[in-house]
Amino acid sequence: MKDHPLDDLDDDIRDHIERETQENLERGMPLDAARYAALRKFGNVTRAREDTRAVWIPRWFDDLVRDLHYGVRTLKRSPGFAATAILTLALGIGANTLAFSILNAVLVRQLPYRDPDRIVLVNFSPPNAPDARGGATLQNYFAVRDRSRSFEYVGSTSPTLASIAVAPDDLAGAEPIAGERIHATTPKVLGIQPLLGTWFTDADDPATAPRKIVLSHGLWQHRFGGDPGVIGRSLRVDSQETTVIGVMPEGFEFPGSTTQFWTSSRWSEATMASPSRMLVVAARLKPAVTLQQAQGEMDVLAADLSREFPQTNKGWRIHLESIYDAYTWRARGPLLLLQGVVALVLVIACANVAGLLLAQAATRQPEFAMRLALGSSQGRLVRQLLAESALLSSIGGACGVGLAFGGLRVFMAQNPDAWLPRANGIGIDGRVLVFALLVTAAGTILFGLLPSWTLSRPSLAPGRPANAMGRMSQQQIRGVLVSGQVAVALVLLIAAGLLVNTLVRLNLNRPAIDPTNLLTFQVRLNLSEMVTPTGRDVEGFFSMRFSPRVSLIFSEIQQRLSGVPGVRSVAASISPPTGQGFGMRLTAIGQPPPADGNMEPVGWSPVSTGYFKTLGIAVRRGREFTPSDSLTSTQVAIVNETLARRLWPGEDPIGREIAIDFVNDRPRQVVGVVADVRDTSQQREFAPHVFVPDAQLPLASRGWFQQPRITMTYLVRTATDPLPLVDQMRSAVAEVYQGQPIYNITTLEEAMSSELTSWRQYLMLLGAFAAIAALLALVGVYGLVAYGVGQRTHEIGIRRALGAGTAAVMSLVLRQGLLLTAIGVGVGVVASLAATRVLKGLLWGVSPTDPVTFTLVATALAAAAMLACCVPASRALTINPIVALRSE
């Protein structure tokens, strides 16, 4: 590496002067004179050095280094100020970085597909909900695939569960995991190649093809230790020999991050007629085709399907949605709101630091006046102050990124995948760091420019104490800042208050299943043992017959579990009680059909005896299911209040008959009405629901229902904490059925909380930011009053000496703080009235201008601000007149 010419510049200059001195000495000069002459000949050493440096290094850079150096010294002189400013900025920048790292992962980061902006999801929407994102029937999928001309490729997928075992006795592989049954063209839609091996081909689609599986990167790592030899290996997927043909790259997820494997769709004609809308259809637009053009084509197709398949498609619309929108629509509003909130937190933080700088400015005014008088330009001083601001915000920014890093770890530990799509990619990457840098720069300008501007124009009389006008106007600027901070903090607090209010209402106002001491787990029977294919049914479709043993085993398990000591009651359901159940079309026999001729599907759950008793759901009329409700007795059903109201408004539903559009189901008599309970879905109104005895499910069935039918969710109510009883329950089940161990063991408390948990997590984040904002604003109020007291020590001393009482002194120092707080609260309330409208979509049961929330939050903030004023004000009372008068 070549030396830089600037290296040893000082040595060069010194050498030059020494040589000259030497020559002078040789000419016979005395040492002092020799050196002096040499120096004179050389001229201004400093200028020579600076001019030389300037050849290589731009002068502004040198200036900057000097300014920063000076800045460090200034900060060291007032460490309290520096620490407060840095901490404030760290909070502001940290909050922004944290929020952006979430926004970045969820909304900004590219989807893990090739040209994701060309990929659309084909949603089917029922007549009554034109914007709903419904799935497609198999028939619908083939119609889109074969008849559309807008798409390069069309693929589809449907969720499935399967146990993946290496060997028959592999216990680790007994628990079913989430995967997708995917049509072979889907990978072409996504444009992603496997990391190892291959994807499926069209030959893999039919049910007659050999069974094949593709593993996700995560599953491959966890279960197979990342062994590349897994390709070609045979696994037992749901006890069926299945060949591993590929492993997907890390970061690939489709359709969601929970998907751990993909198997071929293996569709058959039997599934063809299914009305079930289990398929998610994805398509890649042809290069020249726009989304609008494709949508136009889909509108026509939807009309055709409505005519051709009135049973499944009458009135259904198709609406295309970019895959980006499909993945992010739910999170977008909340995340943008969060980002807006932290931006305001940063504004408050910057206002605080600006206030601190202004306060500090007073002490530096003589210094700056002196520098101006000595010929320093105003621009030079602004630059100096901005450099100090930049120094503060860089340190604050670095600490902020650290805070964000810590905050993210806490956040990620809460398992945000439950409510945030793509949450597994949340982290601090290059883009987040660039964002933090931009925020820091923006902060520097926000809080640095104002003090620079006021400070660089001080009175030009050096030595004159900077008082009276100069400081008053700065106090006024600080006053505006503090009022503004209080106003912004109030807006954020009111927003958080409204959301908390919503959470409380979601929690309290809707009756729920009592989740205490309620254990749930699932038992899954072996499909091949329980199902016999029965060829084609009368309509020509493949069908199957469930063994009567299914119901027997399930009820036997229920009885065994009841016998476990400590168990109060046991119930079972084919669909977990926290979900929405399956959607079934239902008609009330003897009632006029609904006006639009199309009944929306209602929730449908096959449940065991004792279900409502165990879950604590009130039976309003009629009775529960009993063991006498069997396949051979009268077919019965129980409806919830919402469904009863909808079908028979103002009439007694008991004894009425309904027909459920489920394969081979016979008309049922309503024997009971139960209370509405909420489920954990995003739906916030009660949904109509019908329950049938699982023992009365017809044995003859068609394709799609086979998996749910053999999977039972047990609900065990115990006297005390149920978790210690798990082992006994496990062996009780094993006494009846040894095929598969019980799995998904959890308390209902946990299972039910998912919606509220996500709300709680989001609110905690938002609330934390609002709290930081409020805290910073209070620090601002406190700082202002404390500074005022400090500056007026002298005046207060005189007043005390002249006999001013406590009240007079308090009112003197409190007046400003309280006035500014009042202005801030007033402005904040007005601003909130306008601003909370953006929350509309997130609120439930509370209006965006809810007077109670507004009053409570405004009062609380005003009270806290008053307290912040009183602390320094009370210090004013302790001022000793003698000391105060001597202080100047």
């Binding site: 600037l6 060069d12 200059i13 300037a54 050849v55």
Partner: protein, 109 residues
């Protein structure tokens, strides 16, 4: 009255190049050579030699090596590069044209 003259901008560069044409030299030697060959006519703070040297280094007209001088002192020895040599002849002819022109104007025949 002092009859020395201020150096024109760029002239110092030319003088340095001219000096180095005779062979590598360190800073003090260059300053001394300029002083002596111009018979002390130019009013130049020797300190301004250094920015000029570095300007030339930056343009790659000269280069430097670290070496040891006659009395065992470490010093930077500056030397002309081929590029600098070309520049010198260019500047010299330009300078000559300029002085001739100025001379013609000041002392018309």
């Amino acid at each position: 009255m002092d009859d020395r003259v201020d150096l024109l901008q760029g002239t110092l560069d030319l003088l340095i190049l001219r000096t180095l044409q005779l062979g590598p030299a360190h800073g003090h030697a260059i300053a001394k050579a300029i002083r002596q060959s111009s018979e002390d006519v130019f009013l130049v703070e020797e300190g301004s030699l250094y920015p000029a040297l570095h300007r030339l280094l930056k343009r790659k007209w000269i280069a430097f090596e670290k070496g040891t001088s006659e009395n065992n002192r470490k010093a930077k020895f500056y030397r002309l590069t081929p590029k600098g040599r070309k520049q010198l002849s260019l500047e010299t002819s330009k300078w000559e044209r300029l002085t001739q022109a100025v001379a013609r104007v000041l002392r018309p025949v």
